[in-house]
Amino acid sequence: MILVSLDKASDLETSVRKMIDKLNITTDVYILDDNKRMNEWIPAIDAEWSGAIPATVFYKNNKKVLFVEGQMTKEELKKAIEKHKQ
């Protein structure tokens, strides 16, 4: 899993770091701070994505298999992973 924060890069050491520590996040976290080209990279990630976050993209063998806009419950997340595993 890769987490992509859409916070400002200037918030990395403050709010982003705080969240990583608070939630004990051990996976890689990136900051996507390419503000001025949102209108280009949002549709590039998924054509259906309106830009609302959170959003989750599932890839299998380098191919996108599922895109979800909005919050997912733990159960929904598990289900999505199980469905696309193997």
Binding site: S5, T27, S50, A52, P54, F58, E69, E76
Partner: protein, 225 residues
Amino acid sequence: MKKNNSIFTLILALFITACNQSHSETNSTQESQENLVIEAQKAGYAVGDEATDFSLLNIDNKRVSLSDYADAKGYIVTFTCNHCPYAVAYESRIMDLDKKYTPLGYPVIAISPNDPVIVPEDGMEEMKKLAITKGYTFPYLLDDKQEIYPQYGATKTPHIFILNKEKGKNIVKYIGAIDNNYADKDDVTERYVEDAVDALLAGNAITTTTTKAIGCSIKDKRSKK
């Protein structure tokens, strides 16, 4: 990237830290999120559609409808809220839009779409406080039944719908972001909303009629979007 994650499935999760404060995980027996999202996105307006009027409670305890503005040429309907960092970043720019375009016939009508049960910061009392502190010159309405934002197809805050009055109907002319840089208003190079309203005022076609930008998903107890 950790090796074991990359073998068959890679999950890319996009989020903002401040939005997670109000995150409440709820159990749901609904069908797969995939279907929910597709349905949600199919609903709502496209450019050229007629937009519905509404009667929503304002921060001054009075109800506001589009039809109250008899002299308006159109409206800058802005779905926004108190808590979302992207909405906060745009507060002063929304005020500027209202100051610039109300005299020209395109007032800002702000609507908060979130369920205050999920996001207490977006409740009416908190909205009143923010509007007074900031000196909002436009109505700041609560979509208390959460019936208006789905009709428009708003999915996030901020989310702008520019309407133009044509033969007594309010026609959607633009859907999307205010500009192309939420983080730094001094480094904006595309002013989508201003360009669109200026085009309407000049009687020209709008060059960019839809844009996408990051915003906080609208918090709705029914769909927990």
